[in-house]
């Protein structure tokens, strides 16, 4: 069934220059395969496409039940160059929690 990502995971996001990183952590270890299947780099790029240039990279940390995403060209220049209210990408993680995914019944 469809559910927001927040049902199975929590997140934290931050910046390095014009790159945003989002750590996505499964609340329960057994949901890590769902993250792997549903939260792909392509889907995360699609989710933020209105605001980022891309590309999006995904890295895996199965020991933490977690994925880490790097969103390139995500902050309009980053740091003090950025004109955005969230110039350091602090809220990207919370935004991603709205992403609809297919979870196991």
């Amino acid at each position: 069934m469809k559910a927001p990502l927040s049902r199975i995971a929590h997140t934290r996001s931050g910046d390095k220059g014009d790159v945003v990183n989002i750590g996505v952590i499964a609340w329960r270890a057994e949901d890590y395969p769902v993250l792997m299947r549903e939260v792909t780099a392509a889907r995360v790029f699609e989710f933020f496409e209105d605001r980022i240039a891309g590309p999006v990279e995904r890295f895996e940390a199965p020991n933490l039940g977690a994925l880490n995403f790097l969103l390139h060209g995500a902050l309009g220049g980053g740091g003090t160059v950025s004109l955005r209210i969230d110039s350091q990408g602090k809220t990207f993680g919370a935004a991603l929690l709205r992403m609809e995914i297919e979870i196991d019944e």
Binding site: H10, T11, R12, G14, D15, K16, G17, D18, V19, N21, G23, I25, W27, F47, F48, E49, D50, R51, F59, E60, A61, P62, N63, L64, G65, A66, N68, L70, H72, G76, G77, G78, G79, T80, V81, L83, R84, I85, D86, Q88, K90, T91, G93, A94, A95, R98, M99
Partner: protein, 445 residues
Amino acid sequence: MIRVANGQGFWGDWLEAPARLVEQGPIDYLTLDYLAEVTMAVLEKQRQRNPELGYAADFPPLMERLSPALKQKRIRVVTNAGGLNPGACAREVRRRAPGLKVAIVEGDAVTARIGEFLAKGHRLNNIDTGEPIDAIRDRILSANAYLGAFPLAQALMAGADVVIAGRCADSALVLAPCVHAFGWAADSWDLLAAGATAGHIVECGAQTTGGNSQVDWREIPDLDEIGYPIAEIDAGGRFAITKHAGTGGRVTADIVKEQLLYEIGDPRSYLTPDVIADFTGLHLADEGPDRVRITGARGRGRPPCLKLSINYLAGWKATGTLVYTAPDAVAKAQAADRIVRRRIEKLGLRFDEIYTEYLGWNACHGDAAPAASAVPEVQLRIGVRGQLRSAVDRFTREMAPLVLSGPPGATGYGGEGRAQVREVIGNWGALLPRDEIRPSVEVFE
């Protein structure tokens, strides 16, 4: 075992946190991480105005305040408060806290050597985009290499009570006391990885003790009294993350995981000047209340290059705001945005970027935000950035007039309505072969 605490996650963090770490329980080292990438730009602006500035100005008064307790409890301080000017920072600390033995670590500042590096064939291309440095070459203000933990450890070995570095890896503030206390070798990769990992976990202060955490945030007790993190590390690289008993906040494995992933790239290769740490073998276990045990740190070698942080002039910017209310709050704000943009165009103002956001609607949630029609009030925020200060200055006059001449129901123009023109300092990351950097330590007797 040593207890290494971190009392500042950035310059502007809670002023009381370092004092509480010193007063509310046992610690051996107090680290204070003041430097984010944007902080370097702020410091650059301050140094331009006054050559005796360019460091974290909160730090010397803090040392004055804590000096007696630090001496009495034999707590030593390791910080990057020196920013772009460790010497001036040290002078002010010694003036305010003459009882403390101060050392500075330098060698990170390489602004004057950019030409030399390029002549040697080091390209200094942008670390993210690969863009050649020619794009900013004639606008460079400062360049600093990220130093590692060993020169900081050397300063501790020389007996310093307070070690003031400039740009160094955040995690080095914690790794340095380990190297000093345990004599870890420069090629003991797994040990160095453990120290760097502990450093990474505590470098953002209360973000690992329940601050900014999505883990049951409503239930986390007493954030007003939040305890800042302490890493308890032994000579074998075994460590736990905790906080003083009786303080607010919470330390659990889930919370520490959030911080482990914070502002990293590939978790298999967390790059520091001293070691490449692999986070994918880590095991986190809750070991009691507010105590997480972390095992399995692995390191493999160190990078051949150090990262450079280069500040450059990037023009001018300003952001102006107005608040619109329902009915049709967003539609009104959008109409106001169109008016401002047409006026900018007709005035012939040229900008590198004009960026509009609707705070309260979709500034942070983008296309996933609820329908605009459901929004009762919204803040229109228009930012411009360009190379001509006069053009940016002219833009700042274009928001307030809309209160009388634009869509109905605008407010929020007092004070913040007239945008401030600010100089933009960009940050350029680049890589430099590590042999080019020779850190130095100076101890003031």
